[in-house]
């Protein structure tokens, strides 16, 4: 990544710095959660690590005041960009009552926040794809100038809901952008054993939409492709399928031990492409990120993560009987 690619894309220095900060915040929150998990303070973590560039690059290409997102469990970068705070994410990690995603009802990373137009998500993978298509259908019916954006893993792209949802969007040329975050593994199963075809984006053809495979470690390239997809969508040209290829840098989750199914060398190789470093590199080369600034940002984020952790750790759980609430509308 060299030159001033971001300017060519119409991104200001401030905007790319903002992207970087969001990526870094996601990474640091994620790392803290692992520490908390290993210290026995939170029962579960599932990571964004390795996918921050795709998530943040995509989110910045959207209208973060109008568009809807249906993120999947690794999308901490997306939800941070869409307005969820570090504190809110920590409240969710600690399953505290104040967690805006679910009030501590769901596992962490089951995102949802209506005020930020983050659709509520579940654990069964890929169900969010038709939901995003439904939002796009509604937007089309109501003549709204917005798109919906949905993500999932490459393993999840083999579920029937992927096919049914994308075909529906293709038939009705709906303003929905689907981004498959191909991190090469679905738990232990490598992409070759998941996908009949190497490129997920080749599936786009069968639904009558453009498909792109993009370097998921390059936030600017992702930004460009998502931005173009959004323009097409608003132009009435319908949906786009994007495959962002990167690598899952952690085990699948805190319950997984990936040493039984992948080589350490492979992981080390992938780390060399880690966008947190390569994008920092780009910003340094472009003289946007100085050493002072880097220290400042790191400090800021550290404080944010610490404060969020402390707040969440000390926040109360929901009352036991709160389990009875909100099965149906309560008037």
């Amino acid at each position: 990544m060299t030159g001033n690619r971001h300017e060519e894309l119409g991104l200001s220095n401030n905007q790319v710095l903002e992207m970087y900060k969001t990526m870094l915040l996601a990474r640091k929150l994620d790392e803290r959660m692992w520490l908390l998990n290993r210290a026995g303070k939170i029962p579960f973590v599932i990571s964004c690590q390795g996918q921050e560039a795709a998530q943040v690059g995509a989110a910045f290409a959207l209208d973060r005041n109008e568009d809807y997102v249906a993120p999947y469990y690794r999308d901490m970068g997306v939800v941070l960009a869409f307005g969820m705070t570090a504190k809110e994410l920590m409240l969710s990690a600690f399953a505290k009552a104040e967690d805006p995603n679910s009030g501590g009802r769901q596992m962490p990373s089951h995102f949802g926040q209506k005020k930020n137009r983050i659709l509520t998500g579940s654990s069964p993978v890929t169900t969010q794809v038709p939901h995003a298509v439904g939002v796009a259908l509604a937007a089309k019916m109501e003549n709204k100038n917005l798109v919906s954006f949905v993500t999932l893993g490459e393993g999840s792209s083999n579920q029937g809901d992927f096919h049914e949802g994308l075909n529906f969007a293709g038939v009705h040329k709906l303003p929905v952008i689907t981004m498959v975050e191909n991190n090469k593994y679905a738990i232990s199963v490598p992409a070759e054993k998941q996908l009949g075809n190497q490129k997920v984006s080749d599936r786009a053809l069968g639904y009558g939409m453009p498909g792109f495979t993009v370097d998921g470690n390059d936030p600017l390239e992702i930004y460009r492709v998502v931005k173009e997809a959004r323009d097409r969508a608003l132009n009435g040209e319908g949906p786009t399928l994007i495959e962002a290829v990167s690598y899952r840098l952690t085990a699948h989750s805190s319950d997984d031990d990936d040493r039984s199914y992948r080589d350490r060398e492979e992981v080390e190789e992938a780390k060399k492409l880690d966008s947190i470093f390569t994008f920092a590199e780009y910003l340094k080369n472009a003289n946007i990120l100085t050493e002072d600034l880097e220290t400042e940002i790191t400090n800021e984020i550290n404080i944010l993560v610490n404060e969020a952790t402390d707040y969440a750790e000390n926040a109360p759980y929901a009352e036991p009987e709160d389990a009875l609430k909100y099965v149906y509308e309560e008037k």
């Binding site: 209506k114 659709l119 169900t127 038709p130 939901h131 439904g134 019916m141 909100y326 099965v327 149906y328």
Partner: protein, 327 residues
């Protein structure tokens, strides 16, 4: 009051709700130009246009899932499953998603979708066009399941379902579509979801049932009235969550209870009704709770001999009622 058929009540509820609220729209297979394979949406495509009466691809999980997405956005989708039997590919969307959206988001999001589907047998539909599928869903908090028995109930309950802010499965008996006719008011009205309804007052025995079987039970009751057997008939109308108070009251009223369903016996929703009675009415019962249901085979065969053997009818109910009365 005008008289209309069961299916006309469906169409007119849909039309009036679509006129009342622009957010209401219909989606499903063949619902648009063709007006549905049973003609439940006839005329709506011309009146409201393609996008409010949307012919979807043949993909039930998408029909439900896209509807759910639209509902989260703020629309009021009414999805049609062409036959209840074909709701199966959509089970994940209905159970994992629709039923849990409010709860899992701690009341942040909601999912006001209605899913209509024609169910039931006696129409030479064989295994896959005859089934009662309600038992599959009648154990999922977050869902409501309505199964009306008269045109009046159809209209009032379908309107209520569309206005409800939670997901509602609305099962219509396909044989009732043209068989049953009844008076329906001109004015707008809704009926309460979650409330059973006494369809006949009586003092000797209680019959609790729902859907087309209510009609059969009423026919049987008329016959038995001639013999001096006076049946009390409770129509569950909403089969999940059940109206426990009404069930208990009806059971206590006569102390002799017959539960009827067209579904297979084991695991059907009348098991839950029996359990409620067993928990709450032990000392009020004069006879064991009786259940009359289809046999425990996968579904109704096609051949008329075997279909008749499986399908519920007034004679079978009459016989069971008489036996209970004589207990």
């Amino acid at each position: 009051m005008p008289v209309m058929s069961y299916i006309q009540a469906v169409t007119s509820a849909l039309r009036e709700e679509m006129q009342r609220d622009e957010k209401v729209f219909v989606l499903g297979e063949d619902v648009g130009r063709k007006g549905g394979v049973f003609k439940a949406t006839e005329g709506l495509y011309n009146e409201f246009g393609e996008y409010r009466v949307l012919d979807t691809p043949l993909a039930e999980s998408a029909i439900a899932g896209v509807g759910i997405g639209a509902a989260m956005y703020g629309m009021r989708p009414v999805a049609e499953m062409q036959f209840a039997d074909f709701i199966m590919p959509a089970v994940n969307q209905i159970i994992s998603e629709a039923a849990r959206i409010r709860y899992r988001s701690n009341n942040d999001w909601d999912c006001p979708i209605v899913i209509r589907a024609p169910y039931g047998g006696g129409v030479h539909g064989a295994l896959y066009h005859s089934q009662s599928v309600e038992a599959i869903f009648a154990n999922q908090p977050g869902l409501k399941i309505v199964m009306p028995s008269t045109p009046y109930d159809v209209k009032g309950l379908l309107k209520a379902a569309i206005r409800d802010n939670d997901p509602v499965l609305f099962f219509e008996h396909k044989r009732a579509y043209r068989l049953l006719k009844g008076e329906v008011p001109e004015e707008d009205y809704v009926l309460p979801i979650g409330k059973a309804d006494v369809k006949r007052e009586g003092s000797d025995i209680t019959v609790i049932t729902y859907g087309l079987c209510v009609h059969f039970a009423l026919q049987a009751a008329e016959k038995l009235a001639e013999e001096g057997i006076d049946a009390h008939i409770l129509d569950l109308r909403t089969i999940y969550p059940l109206d426990k108070e009404a069930i208990i009251e009806a059971a206590k009223k006569t102390g002799k209870v017959l539960l009827v369903t067209e579904d297979n016996k084991e695991g059907s929703i009348i098991g839950e009704v029996a359990a409620i009675i067993a928990e709450n009415c032990l000392f009020d019962l004069d006879a064991p709770v009786q259940r009359l249901a289809g046999p425990d085979v996968p579904s109704m065969p096609y051949a008329p001999t075997m279909e008749k053997f499986f399908m519920m009818n007034p004679d079978k109910i009459e016989k069971a009622m008489r036996e209970l009365a004589e207990f």
